[in-house]
């Protein structure tokens, strides 16, 4: 069980990284803060407690791979990678600036810790399949974690990949669905309802569990038993809140697109400092 002390450390980290992220987004006048806040606890928990990482030797062959398929949440990943000392925290100031490798959507531009070029939806899981299959072929122990959005479940390539991973018994593959219920132009349940998702995944020979994706206790419970079953890939449906942590952004789709005004920045920083 995760201790109360550990939870409060992680929660403090999440608040601090939210502040860092909004400053990056504000400076760059960038989009996708809602997505970054939605997935942040998942990334913090993975990098803190699940992934085998080598921040000073980012390409160590033994590392676990994390593919952020929802690459538009790049600001969240960069903030976590900097926190883990993959690169200097100061580098975050360059987010989306002219010539910066910290691109608004994760790209294999040479940023240590970024494992795939993503953000065109439905690309992460097929690439993750290839990495997981390579580990099996090479008899290596690393695991592959792919984080996708609800909207990516609309893409055929995601389902091709789900089909493949189940058939090939890729139990070194973990799919995390950052299920905040929103996609580009509305609520997922209204646009293309993926329900019942656990049943769909199970019918493709996956093991499925669910978690509260912005809650470290719940994430710990979900990640503690992976793979859920030997011989089968694991899916974790992480129920999250888009824009989580800043009350005026929570569950509001406009924060997929806009950046905060000076007033909004101040208000958000105040709330995050409480």
């Amino acid at each position: 069980m995760i201790t109360k002390q550990k939870i409060s450390i992680l929660e403090r980290k999440a608040r601090n990284l939210r502040k860092r992220i909004i400053l990056m987004i504000f400076k760059a006048k960038a989009s996708h803060i809602g997505s970054a806040y939605s997935v942040l606890e998942i990334l913090i928990y993975l990098y803190d407690s699940v992934l085998r990482i080598y921040p000073k030797d980012a390409l160590n062959p033994k590392r676990d791979r994390l593919v952020l398929s929802k690459g538009w949440a790049a600001s969240a990943l960069y903030s976590v990678l900097a926190d883990k000392k993959f690169f200097s925290e100061k580098e975050l100031d360059n987010y989306c600036m002219n010539g910066s490798k910290l691109i608004g959507i994760t790209t294999m531009s040479g940023v240590p810790g970024v494992e795939a070029t993503t953000g065109s939806m439905g690309h992460g899981l097929p690439v993750g399949n290839g990495m997981a299959l390579a580990a099996k072929k090479k008899k290596q122990k690393y695991r592959v974690f792919v984080v996708i959005s609800d909207g990516e479940l609309d893409e055929g390539s995601t389902w091709e990949a789900i089909f493949f991973a189940g058939h090939h018994h890729l139990d070194n593959l973990v799919l995390v669905i950052d299920a905040n219920g929103w996609q580009s132009f509305g609520k997922t349940k209204d646009i293309l309802n993926s329900s019942p998702l656990p049943e769909k995944l199970k019918s493709f020979h996956w093991e499925v569990t669910e978690a509260e994706g912005n809650d470290f206790t719940s994430l710990e419970k979900a990640f503690s038993k992976i793979p859920l079953k030997k011989g089968r890939p694991t899916a974790i449906i992480a129920h999250t809140t888009k824009g989580n942590g800043v009350s005026f952004m929570e569950d509001r789709n406009e924060w997929h697109y806009k950046y905060p005004s000076g007033e909004e920045l101040k208000e958000a920083l105040q709330e995050l400092s409480k």
Binding site: A116, T117, H123, P126, V127, L133, K137, S157, A161
Partner: protein
């Protein structure tokens, strides 16, 4: 050509353990021996080209050299975005092999014609595009595709409709981007890429009966081109006819035109590819090429007309 490709690949796989084959459920009557000999190194993803391209990228990122195989129309166009983003943008060692290119599957209609694949692949940075013209070239190109880091597209067609043949009299020495002189001549220049080489030979024979001696060049690379060597074959104010079983938009004809116009050179380039239209009929490969004006007789007549016009112009 498929058989030559597979036999060459199997020999390469014996030496190079890093080679894997990923097929989107294609390979009937082609890949059986390879699959049986290397069961762990042949991955059939099922009929899912996008996933297959993504998987190939993931495997290549993990250190493998991957041959991604399916029919030319599907393995390039259906998963174009995966090729662009997952493979080409990361300069990964994925060698994409498209079979049944052009009108090979002439009875099957538009779904199975591959006439835009070269244009699509050529537009991608990092991509090498290779179109072998006979069995020698098919083997050489397959070997060459592993001689550099990064992605390649290998376009496999048929040398002619009845059977695949050797057209070069000896195994040519191939280099990426280099032209191969097939027939020396002082008349117009005919450049052929890929599966048009057999046709080009017939064309030259027919022109010879009219006392025209063209220079015939085979160019199994579409990208990158050795511009210096290619331009070295052209003569001032000469005409260059570029033959390809592909739309005249964006293939080798376009590539050569671009070189000539960018440099402002005094050559005329005539693109002899398929026209800007879909064909909604069945037939033999020769029949369908004919509907695009690609018959030996029509092109002979065209070349003779062009030569007469030029002669008239000089007289004036």
């Amino acid at each position: 050509m498929r058989g030559t490709f597979v036999n060459t690949l199997m020999k390469m796989m014996e030496k190079d353990k890093s080679i894997l084959v990923v097929s989107a459920d294609m390979g009937f009557n082609t890949f059986e021996a390879l699959r049986d000999k290397f069961p762990e190194r042949f991955i059939n993803t099922g009929v899912s080209e996008a996933d297959a391209a993504g998987i190939s990228a993931g495997l290549a990122q993990s250190g493998y050299t991957v041959f991604l195989y399916a029919q030319a129309s599907f393995v390039t166009l259906r998963c174009f975005e995966q090729i662009r983003l997952d493979i080409a943008s990361n300069n990964l060692n994925v060698k994409i092999v498209g079979t049944s290119s052009g009108f090979t599957l002439s009875q099957y209609g538009v779904s199975h014609f591959a006439l835009e694949d070269v244009a699509a692949m050529r537009a991608l940075p990092n991509m090498t595009v290779l179109c072998p013209g006979d069995l020698y070239e098919a083997g050489e190109v397959t070997k060459l595709s592993c001689s550099f880091k990064g992605p390649a597209y290998i376009r496999i067609g048929r040398t002619n409709s009845d059977r695949d043949v050797y057209i070069h009299s000896n195994r040519p020495k191939l280099k990426i981007g280099d032209p191969i002189v097939v027939e020396k001549g002082s008349g117009p220049v005919i450049v052929s890429t890929g599966s048009m080489l057999f046709f080009a030979k017939e064309l030259v024979e027919k022109l010879n009966t009219k006392k025209i001696k063209p220079l015939l060049v085979s160019l199994p690379t579409v990208k990158p081109l050795n511009e210096r060597k290619i331009l070295g074959l052209f003569r001032r104010n000469g005409t260059i006819y570029v033959l390809e079983e592909h739309t005249a938009i964006g293939g080798l004809g376009s590539a050569i035109s671009e070189i000539v116009t960018d440099r402002g050179l005094p050559y005329r380039v005539v693109r002899l590819g398929t026209g800007d239209k879909f064909l909604h009929v069945a037939g033999t490969r020769e029949y369908l090429l004919g509907l695009h004006g690609l018959t030996v007789n029509k092109i002979v007549a065209r070349i003779m007309r062009d030569m007469e016009k030029k002669a008239d112009f000089r007289k004036k």
